[in-house]
Symmetry: C2
Subunit: 228 residues, 2 copies
């Protein structure tokens, strides 16, 4: 295992909690916030995969919007255009998980460049990061939008390698999405899977190099990996 020279983070679900939109959903549909946000997230991901396979790329925000259309129709929710827009906009104000700021600060203090590599558009990534006040912590905010494909396509993972200037096996890719961790491992990054909720790893022929239950374990893990 080579020493780690830089870190790349997934955004949605890894640094920022996608189910923080459950609150906005629950305000409109009391008692159903999490049910709505889970199905919405599932369909959002499926639509990024299916659109890429069909060769019919749309920006992440459009996939998110379409997924909410599906959810409203499937769950028979009555959503005005304004309410639909409000819920989608909640994706621009996701909350970071506890300890994200302290963890990233600690990693930067070790001189490690930090990047985000996300399915989101540059606009969305910038909005989420700025709204949370963490924009000073990243060297690169990288969107898939230039590739017109979504994760786990290799063309996406390559973007961060190119931006950071280190080879893939010297970069630690951090994701809480098991399929993303597997895709990044297949590409050749060192990978840390953040498994907060005791999830089962997808069976895709790959194993992350590391697994943690909380991002706050990262500074020690990287310290040890650098030493090893």
């Amino acid at each position: 295992m080579k020493p780690i020279k830089a870190l790349v983070f997934d955004l949605y679900g890894t640094l920022y909690d996608v189910h923080s939109v459950a609150g906005a959903c629950g305000e409109r549909f009391p008692g159903r916030g999490l049910e709505i946000s889970i199905l919405w997230r599932q369909k959002q991901l499926e639509y990024t995969w299916l659109r890429t396979l069909m060769g019919d790329y749309v920006p992440f925000e459009k996939a998110t919007d379409d997924a909410l259309d599906f959810v409203a129709s499937h769950l028979k929710l009555s959503l005005t255009t304004a309410a639909h827009k409000d819920l989608c906009d909640a994706y621009l104000r996701l909350q970071p998980y506890p300890g994200v700021e302290a963890t990233l600060t600690s990693l930067r203090e070790r001189g490690l460049p930090l990047a985000i590599l996300s399915n989101g558009s540059s606009f969305s990534i910038g909005s989420v990061v700025k709204n949370s006040g963490l924009d000073h912590l990243f060297d690169h905010l990288i969107s898939v939008e230039s590739t017109k494909v979504f994760k786990p396509h290799d063309a996406v993972y390559r973007l961060a390698e190119n931006a950071l200037g280190w080879s893939r096996d010297e970069i630690l890719f951090v994701s809480s999405n098991g399929w993303d961790a597997c895709g990044a491992r297949h590409f050749g990054y060192q990978v840390c899977w953040v498994n907060r909720n005791g999830n089962t790893l997808d069976v895709l022929g790959q194993k992350p190099d590391f697994a943690v239950t909380d991002l706050r374990e990262l500074p020690d893990l990287v310290g040890n990996a650098v030493m090893s």
Copy 2:
């Protein structure tokens, strides 16, 4: 709309009921057959999409096998190697939906060539069709395996157009999987979505040309489409 010259059917979930494996699952895990078969099917599909995106194709049977590994681990089911194999083998003996034989016979009597286009391997497709005694009804059994990608990739849909020798807008593609119906429509087939259970169509920028609730509506639909 051009007259229809040939029909192409999806296999899993369209002509044959994937949840007929629920019976085999329920025998081993009483009361949990459908829960297991639904999650198994969801993961099987996800793994075909993710493997294609990662550029790491495996045969459909391997994706099915991996998906069952996930399910067993996630639902904490104790499965011996032999039991695992038995459950996977149930996918080779899926039951056709009611009316499939009569419907296909009626379409053939109108002189329409019939094909199956499936994610399965040639071996699996052949096994399912032969076990059900319907092998005399098809002119072509077409597997994705030569393309090394899965649906809804265009390369897959192209296989059936090439085999049938009619242009895509003269072929009716029939699927009960909404995402497959959308992919085939994006490719340019005329598409009939078989929506048996009042499902919600995925929002992927496509609308099937026709929707039926039962395959037995097809002969009339094709007759009218030929006349129109």
